[in-house]
């Protein structure tokens, strides 16, 4: 369908035309990849309570979009500074948020931006929805050996957001091939038994095997270890518990106000996200995440130059 035809699609138009218009909207706003996930497949994989229909009762389609993961420069900074780059995902959320308004105003169909946060009934580690599952089924990312972080063969590592709508849109297929493990990772695995992400993970929470054809055979991920490295919300009650158990006033003061604790209070008071993401050392050493053909703005600009 031509872009002009897509722009003109209105309620009742061909779902493919509507989908094209939605995709075009998201890309114009900065998404690198956009797809529609098969709702039935989502419902098969996601547990009850975490399916799109648990949020939007008459949902018909799940749109997933991805924005560029990081600038090339971001991969060179100290890891503690990298933790602050998580706000990149905010770009994905705002596109998704805008997309939901776009759908309602343009197509008169209900739409929501899928809240990318925790299920208040499930503690701090269970999200309302798996954005990863949506993106994977929408064909804009495949699970890697790095704890199932999604990778894209062209864009490398991205941040994802989802839009649910009552519009019926034709679903996409998952990616035909998984870019992980990259050939160099397979070589390394054959020699050492580890891929780069496994070797350089600071808490060694990744392990796995690769089959004789160079495909993922098994991925093992200790999420709790990964979470404790960067997701410091559990530190808050621990500091308080330590303070309560302190033997004297000086020990209590040190527990509450040592530099680490002070940082926690700072994060809480200003609502800053640093140190509340993942460390992404696995991605820093990943050839797909950092060196896929369109993985960062410099590579994308160079590719655009080549096209011209």
């Amino acid at each position: 369908m031509s872009e002009a035809a897509a722009r003109e699609a209105r309620p009742g138009a061909d779902p493919a035309a509507i989908k094209a218009q939605i995709v075009e909207y998201c890309k114009r706003k900065g998404a690198l990849a956009v797809g529609v996930a098969d709702l039935e497949a989502i419902d098969r994989v996601a547990p009850p309570g975490h399916r799109p229909g648990d949020i939007l009762p008459n949902v018909r389609s799940v749109i997933s979009l991805g924005v560029g993961g990081q600038t090339q420069g971001a991969w060179t900074v100290p890891t503690k500074a990298f933790a602050y780059f998580g706000s990149t995902e905010g770009r994905a959320y705002s596109i998704a948020y805008g997309c939901s308004f776009f759908i309602e105003s343009r197509f008169r169909a209900r739409a929501i931006y899928c809240p990318p946060d925790m299920d208040p009934e499930g503690g701090a580690r269970i999200p309302l929805q798996s954005l990863k599952l949506h993106a994977e089924l929408a064909g804009i990312g495949a699970r890697s050996l790095a704890g199932d972080i999604l990778l894209h063969p062209e864009f490398g590592y991205m941040y994802y957001a989802s839009v649910f709508t009552e519009l019926e849109l034709p679903p996409d297929r998952p990616l035909a091939t998984n870019p992980c493990p990259a050939p160099s990772c397979v070589d390394m695995y054959r020699k050492t038994g580890q891929t780069p992400c496994m070797k350089f993970c600071p808490v060694q929470c990744l392990s796995g095997t690769i089959d004789e054809r160079g495909r993922q055979a098994e991925m093992r991920y200790e999420m709790a270890k990964c979470a404790e490295l960067t997701q410091q919300y559990e530190a808050v009650p621990e500091v308080l518990a330590e303070a309560l158990a302190a033997g004297d006033a000086a020990a209590r003061e040190r527990t509450l106000f040592d530099p680490d604790a002070s940082l926690l209070w700072y994060k809480m008071s200003v609502g800053s996200g640093g140190l509340l993401a993942q460390c992404f050392e696995c991605m820093r050493v990943c050839p797909i995440a950092t060196r896929a053909p369109l993985a960062d703005p410099i590579r994308r600009a160079q590719a655009a130059d080549r096209k011209d």
Binding site: P47, P48, G147, P174, M223, A224
Partner: protein
């Protein structure tokens, strides 16, 4: 509260948590195992079959385990918190900018070195006035000095330049740095860490400096014990300093220090220099250690690195903790004042176990000069070292000079290489100063006043006229203030004698673990009461006139016997003299003159008094009793220990 309900309401008990926590953990997302790529390949039956490994929701886990969803939720979240290790994210601080995590090199936080309780207690003794800290730092008196940093810099600048000239030839700064590093590795292997005290009881041999630098390299603290000390003294010092190791000789003349030290209860390691001693480690073995030191053992300028013992009693030892920046700053700023440069060859007659000896080494290490080593002072050995090593700077005590002069060795030795003499340890009799100066064809005589507590506080400068150097201890060192006060604490006019008080960046912060000594060591406004008597001249030079506790109180008339002693020292039949008080039922105290005769012929009391009267000494200052001794009790810097003379006289009475 899971979904608002209490544990009691949902029936979760500690027994239930203990029973199910592991299973819930394994089934939850906290541990994820995926085989193949089933979601991407839409092998959805496989997803169902492997859900236990992929990670289940709480409701799914509940169905598997036969619990309620709320129970699973409560147990899972509690287990997540209990298993959470808060400090793990510190690993991130070492990563990025080209550094990657290496499991084989990572040392967990809990396995990293820390300070032992004893080391923390020593650090707790370092309490400085915050205003003074700011002043010292702003003025540059306290800087980024560490001994390890200095030696590394010297080794990088000129690795071949001789750091040590000893009996076995020259040792370059590069090799000295390497040996110090290896000794540091050896100490680290023995479990010695930052802030731990290691005692060193060695003469001025290269191994002393290797040990010192090795100790300082790992941020440990060196405490010294003078070589003549035996088990009784060592027991007191080592117990007080909490030393974990002692570096000492296997054999010293007829004594076996290393074997004796094994019996000392507080020590964990004895490192013996010399023949092997069962139960100890050899110095060579510790020195043979190879490997890298962890980064967190790097010393910091504000760390204590010396714990030196001054006077005090065995029940109440006075230990002086000194930081790297205060001590090395005193030497860094002192070198240009003394005009010591990398071209100098420095010889210390004072032992390195004493601050004056260490000061000579610090000056040399700060500029890259050579340290000519004299293991132990005897007049012939000293003369021989001067003749062979051609030193340019001599660090000596007046008693050393007096001994050399009296037996004619100062005349017999070629002193043409010497451009500077720094005399310290006790006030130098002016006649002696003039006599030494007259024998230096190319050199200048200077005096230095210092204490373990204050380091080098006052000194004359090389350009000062000999009368200033002969009569005074000079002016304050950079970063130092000095004043003379009367009994009421008020400042005195030039020429008036009173107590010398000092403050500044050179100062120790207080005695370690000795509240009694600290109680009156400092004035309320932070001046250290030195206990020395002094008078300031119009040029700002301080003349040290004695010790306040050496004053003799004869029927309420207090006087300083120092001038009498100087005159007696010059008597042809007297080798050495001291005047001390003896108790008297009527007058309180009377003066007793103690002398070491020069020969068989001992002068009598009357003869000595006549000699003193002839030289204008007031009658009330004449000694009223005479004691002859074969030798004086001396400190390592050959200062007479008057308290021992007083005790000896009391015993003989």
């Amino acid at each position: 509260m899971p979904r608002g309900l209490t544990f009691e309401q949902i029936g979760v008990t500690e027994a239930m948590i203990a029973s199910y926590a592991d299973a819930i953990w394994r089934l939850s997302n906290n541990v994820q195992i995926r085989r193949g790529d089933p979601v991407r390949l839409l092998e959805l039956d496989r997803v169902d079959a492997e859900r236990a490994d992929l990670g289940m929701s709480d409701a799914q886990i509940a169905a598997v385990l036969g619990l309620t969803r709320d129970q699973v939720l409560a147990i899972r979240v509690l287990t997540e918190v209990r298993r959470f290790r808060r400090r793990n994210y510190h690993r991130l601080y070492e990563l990025g900018r080209g550094s990657r995590f290496r499991a084989d090199r990572y040392v967990p936080l809990e396995a990293r070195g820390g300070f032992r309780a004893d080391a923390l207690a020593l650090r707790e003794a370092l309490r400085f006035d915050p205003k003074e800290v700011r002043r010292f730092v702003e003025a540059g008196w306290w800087g980024n000095d560490t001994l390890a940093g200095w030696i590394a810099a010297r080794a990088a600048e000129a690795p071949q330049r001789a750091a040590i000239r000893g009996p076995d030839g020259d040792l370059g700064y590069g090799e000295l740095a390497r040996r110090a590093e290896r000794f540091a590795v050896g100490l680290h292997r023995l479990g010695i860490g930052r802030g731990d005290v290691v005692s060193v009881q060695l003469p001025n041999v290269p191994e002393f400096l290797v040990a010192y630098l090795g100790i300082a390299r790992i941020g440990a603290v060196m405490s010294t014990a003078h070589v003549p000390y035996r088990a009784a003294e060592l027991r007191t010092l080592l117990a007080h300093s909490r030393a974990r190791a002692l570096v000492c000789l296997s054999r010293n003349k007829d004594h076996e220090p290393a074997a004796a030290a094994l019996a000392l209860p507080s020590l964990e390691h004895v490192i013996a220099l010399g023949d092997p001693v069962p139960g100890t480690r050899s110095f060579a073995e510790v020195l043979a250690s190879a490997g890298d030191l962890p980064d967190d053992l790097a010393p910091a300028p504000a760390d204590p690195f010396l714990l030196l013992y001054t006077s005090g009693t065995s029940a109440n030892p006075k230990a002086v903790p000194l930081t790297q920046q205060a001590t090395l700053g005193n030497a860094r700023m002192g070198a240009p004042e003394h005009r010591i440069t990398a071209a100098d060859v420095v010889l210390s007659a004072a032992p390195y176990s004493h601050l004056f000896g260490l000061y000579s080494f610090h000056l040399a290490a700060g500029v890259g000069a050579t340290n000519l080593l004299l293991p132990a002072f005897t007049p012939p050995d000293f003369a021989q070292a001067v003749a062979a090593g051609r030193p340019t700077v001599l660090f000596v005590g007046p008693a050393h000079l007096a001994a050399l002069l009296k037996i004619g060795l100062l005349d017999a030795t070629d002193l043409s290489s010497v451009r500077l003499v720094i005399a310290s340890g006790s006030a130098c009799p002016p006649e002696l100063a003039r006599a030494v100066a007259a024998r230096l064809p190319n050199g200048r005589f200077t005096q230095l006043w210092g204490m373990t507590e204050t380091q080098a506080g006052l000194y004359t400068r090389p350009d000062d006229p000999i009368e200033v150097a002969a009569l005074t201890a000079g002016r304050p060192s950079p970063g130092t203030e000095a004043r003379v006060v009367g009994p009421d604490g008020a400042g005195l006019e030039p020429g008036e004698e009173g107590e010398l008080q000092v403050r500044g960046s050179l100062m120790f912060p207080g005695y370690f673990d000795n509240a009694e000594a600290n109680a009156d060591a400092f004035t309320a406004d932070g001046w250290f009461r030195t206990g020395d008597l002094a008078a300031r001249d119009a040029g700002g030079n301080f003349r040290i006139t004695g010790r306040s506790k050496d004053l003799i109180n004869r029927g309420g008339v207090k006087y300083n016997p120092r001038d009498v002693e100087d005159l007696l020292d010059a008597h042809p039949d007297v080798m050495q003299a001291a005047v001390v008080p003896v108790p008297d039922p009527v007058l309180g105290e009377r003066a007793c003159c103690v002398i070491v005769p020069r020969s068989e012929r001992s002068p009598g009391l009357e003869e000595l008094c006549a000699y003193l009267l002839e030289r204008g000494v007031a009658r009330y200052k004449l000694p009223e009793r005479l004691e002859l001794v074969a030798e004086m009790p001396l400190t390592p810097t050959r200062k007479i220990i008057k308290s021992r003379l007083v005790a000896r006289i009391a015993r003989s009475a």
